[in-house]
């Protein structure tokens, strides 16, 4: 989860999510969940994403960090 690959791909993925939602960050979070987990986010997950974006001077970096967390989380790494 610390590799250059994950840093590069999450940056590109975040840019793509924002581009496809006309820079609407809330919709970008929903789209990211659809693309990565194939489901809608829960309220708590939306809140975690919002917190991440509000903590960074650049909200896009906050979203990228959240996307990186999504790829590092159990939900992506292991299929049930």
């Amino acid at each position: 989860m610390n590799s250059d690959l994950i840093m590069r791909t999450t940056k590109a993925f975040t840019a793509k999510m924002l581009e496809e939602t006309n820079n609407d960050r809330e919709k970008a979070v929903t789209l990211a969940f659809d693309q990565i987990y194939n489901r809608q986010p829960t309220e708590k997950e939306r809140q975690i994403a919002q917190n991440s974006m509000s903590m960074e001077a650049n909200p896009q970096e906050g979203l990228r960090l959240f996307v990186q967390a999504m790829f590092g989380a159990n939900n992506f790494l292991y299929s049930y």
Binding site: S52, L65, N74
Partner: protein, 280 residues
């Protein structure tokens, strides 16, 4: 049935049901790594376990076989079945010279000149036998006491029984992997995954792949990142798999990973070791 429930049922026949029942009654987590007292007062303070799959043969180091010497180059006095290469029945002794060493007179190969000098400090256990003749099955026998895959390795059992005093490193660390059985050489198998052996390499710059924080990520960002991974995992566990021990172990491993970032680099750095240790 969800996979988590299947995994739970799969484990139960191998556990002591009384322990399970008792543990759940008092709310104790079964996958517990807190230090525990052994059943008997230990004489040793520390144990280092070297399992060298694919290492030099004991027959060439310190286990001279007089019968092999006797029949060297001749047909074996019994039939060799199964793995007789090219149907050969010919016996071959170790090609190396052995010398009597120390006060014990133990015969040690001249390939090990330093070991020859310290042989009196070594206890040899030469009573172990096996009916397994192939690499993988022999390795499974050595690390799990079973000649096949699917059982916990000795390190997993030790972690299960004793826990760990170091909260910043995994209870069970494996340097490298089994020669032909890979990570199964240090698997916890059907014990909870928290007792699984974590691979480390003898490389001070990167003892664990990608253990270092990326250059373009601040310490504060990484802290938030790990916190988010943990929050996402807890949310999934709460929503979908409250009984899943695998998921619980992964959450614990992520939390451990954060603490390991400093500790793993420290223990893999040999610069602080004394000259005497480095000479070893």
């Amino acid at each position: 049935m969800p996979r988590s429930d299947l995994a739970r049922w799969r484990r139960i026949p191998f556990c002591n049901l009384t322990d399970l029942y008792g543990a759940e009654l008092v709310g104790v987590r079964i996958s517990d790594l807190t230090p525990k007292k052994p059943n008997f007062a230990p004489k040793a303070q520390r144990v280092m376990f070297f399992y060298i799959g694919g290492g030099p043969s004991t027959i060439d180091m310190f286990d001279l076989k007089p019968t092999l010497v006797k029949y060297d180059g001749k047909p074996a006095p019994f039939e060799i079945k199964g793995r007789a290469l090219n149907e050969s029945q010919q016996v071959m002794a170790s090609p190396w010279k052995f010398s009597h060493c120390g006060e014990s007179g133990r015969q040690i190969s001249d390939l090990l000149p330093h070991f020859q000098k310290v042989v009196d400090k070594v206890t040899f256990l030469r009573s172990m036998t096996t009916d397994r003749i192939d690499h993988s099955t022999a390795q499974f026998t050595f690390v799990t006491d079973r000649g096949f895959t699917g059982f916990p390795a000795i390190g997993a059992w030790v972690s299960y029984a004793l826990g760990t005093e170091n909260r910043n490193l995994p209870a069970y660390i494996a340097l490298g992997e089994g020669a032909t059985i890979g990570a199964r050489a240090h698997s916890s198998a059907w014990l909870p995954p928290i007792f699984n052996g974590n691979s480390m390499r003898a490389d001070p710059s990167a003892p664990i792949f990608d253990i270092k924080r990326p250059d373009n990520m601040s310490a504060e960002q990484q802290k938030r990142f790990l916190s988010m991974v943990s929050a996402l995992d807890h949310e999934q566990k709460t929503q979908c798999y409250p009984l899943d021990q695998d998921l619980e172990s992964r959450i614990a491993n992520y939390e451990l990973a954060a603490r390991m970032q400093l500790e793993a680099l420290k223990v893999a750095n040999f610069n602080q070791e004394s000259e005497a240790i480095k000479k070893l």
